[in-house]
Symmetry: C2
Subunit: 198 residues, 2 copies
DNA sequence: GCGAACCTATCGATCGATCGTTCGGGGGTC
DNA sequence: GACCCCCGAACGATCGATCGATAGGTTCGC
C-alpha cells in the first residue's frame, strides 16, 4: 500500500482544514473524530493540535468564514443592484446561489451543524445570520410597498424564495452541464413569480 | 429533589421512544448517547436494551415510521384529488405541510439524520423517498403537458415547491396563531405561482 | 388455597473501544 | 543551538453494548 497523502512539509494547516471540511460534510460534527480528520489529512493527531485549538475551533472557523462570505456577497450584490426591487431581488438570488454553489460543502455544513457551535460562537454568528435575513425581508417588504410585488404574504414569500435557493446545494452537481448563470436565471424567474412581481 | 419521571410500570417502551425522538431532535444522532435517552425516559440503560435492539434501531424505527406516513399521506391526498393538475398540486402541498407540521420533530430528524441510517435501512427507505419524489415530478410534468402549468423548467419548479413546503418545519410554531389551513392556502398559492399555473 | 415455577420489567456493574486532549521528544533547517 | 513541524504514547472520560440479579406478577400442579 502506498502512503496515502504525502503532505508537503508546512502544508499541514491547510491539509487539516480541508480534511475537517470533508469529514464534517460526510459524517457531521459529532460523527467525525479528530482521528478521522488527521488521518484524512495524512498527518498525526499532534499535528492537528499544533495548527488548531481543537475540534470545536475547526468547526467554528469553517462556519464563521462561510457565513461571513455569504453576508459579504449579499451586501455587495445589493450595493451594485440599484433601486429597482426586481433587480434587487435578482441580485440577492444570484448572491445566494453563487455562494451556495461555490461553497457547496461549507454552506451545507454551516446550515446543518449550526447547533453544534459553542453557544458563544453561535450567538456571535447569529447576528450575521439575522442581518442577512433582514436584507431579504426589507427587500420583499419594499417591493410590496412600492407596488412592484403583489404577494399577499411577504414573509412566506421570502421564506419560500430563500428555501428554494438554499436547497440548490443539496442536488446541484458542478459538472452536470447546468451552469450557474443559467441556474441564476431560472431561480430569479421563480423568485419573481413567488413574490408575484408584475 | 423529587424523582424525575416516574415511568409507570410497563410504559417503558413508549417512554424510551419519546425520549429518543426528543434527544435526536435536540442534539442529533451522534450527539446523543443512549445514556441521555435512558435518563430522559427516567429509566436505566438496561431498560432501553430490554425494549429496543440498540441506538441504531431507535433511529431507524423513527425515520421509517415517519417516512412511511409521509408517503401514505401523499398517496391518499392524490387519490382523493381528482384529475385537475391545480387541485392535485394543492393536494400534495397540503399533504406535505400537514405531515411536516403534525410530525414536525420526526420529519426534521428524518431529513437531517438520513445519512446516519445503516446502509441497508437507508437503501430500503430510499425507494419510498424516490416514490414520493416521483409523485411530485409526474404531477408537475402532467400539468405542463396539459397546458395548465406554464413554467419553463418543471424540475426546478418542483424542487422549489418541495423546498418551500419542507422549510416550514424549521420555523413554524404550532401555538403561534397561524393555523394549518391558512398555511396550506398560502403555500398552495405560492406553489401555483411557482409552476406558473394560469 | 398455596407454594413452585415462570415471565416481565427493571436494575447496577462492567466490558472493550473510542473519544478529545495533552505531553515529551526528535528530525530538519537556518 | 534555536526554532519550526511533526510524531508516538498516554491521559481520563465517555461511548454502545452486555451481563447476572431481582422485585413484582401470573400460571399451574396438587
Amino acid at each position: 500500500m502506498t502512503s496515502p497523502a504525502a503532505v508537503p512539509r508546512g502544508g499541514g494547516r491547510e491539509a487539516i482544514t480541508r480534511a475537517a471540511r470533508e469529514s464534517f460534510a460526510e459524517r457531521g460534527y459529532h460523527g467525525t473524530s479528530i482521528r478521522d480528520i488527521a488521518a484524512r489529512a495524512g498527518l498525526s493527531l499532534s499535528a492537528l493540535y499544533h495548527w488548531h485549538a481543537g475540534k470545536q475551533e475547526l468547526l467554528t472557523a469553517l462556519v464563521e468564514e462561510s457565513t461571513e462570505e455569504y453576508f459579504r456577497r449579499c451586501d455587495e450584490a445589493l450595493r451594485d443592484a440599484g433601486d429597482d426591487p426586481a433587480a434587487r431581488l435578482g441580485a440577492l438570488v444570484r448572491a445566494t446561489i453563487e455562494y451556495r454553489v461555490s461553497r457547496q460543502v461549507e454552506s451545507t455544513i454551516a446550515a446543518s451543524e449550526w447547533r453544534n457551535l459553542d453557544p458563544a460562537n453561535r450567538e456571535r454568528l447569529d447576528a450575521l445570520r439575522a442581518a442577512a435575513s433582514k436584507l431579504w425581508a426589507d427587500l420583499v417588504d419594499e417591493g410590496v410597498a412600492r407596488g412592484v410585488f403583489h404577494c399577499e404574504h411577504p414573509d412566506d414569500a421570502r421564506r419560500a424564495v430563500v428555501a428554494a435557493c438554499n436547497a440548490i446545494a443539496q442536488w446541484y452537481e458542478p459538472d452536470g452541464g447546468l451552469g450557474v448563470p443559467e441556474l441564476v436565471e431560472r431561480y430569479t424567474a421563480i423568485a419573481q413569480r413567488i413574490v408575484d412581481c408584475r
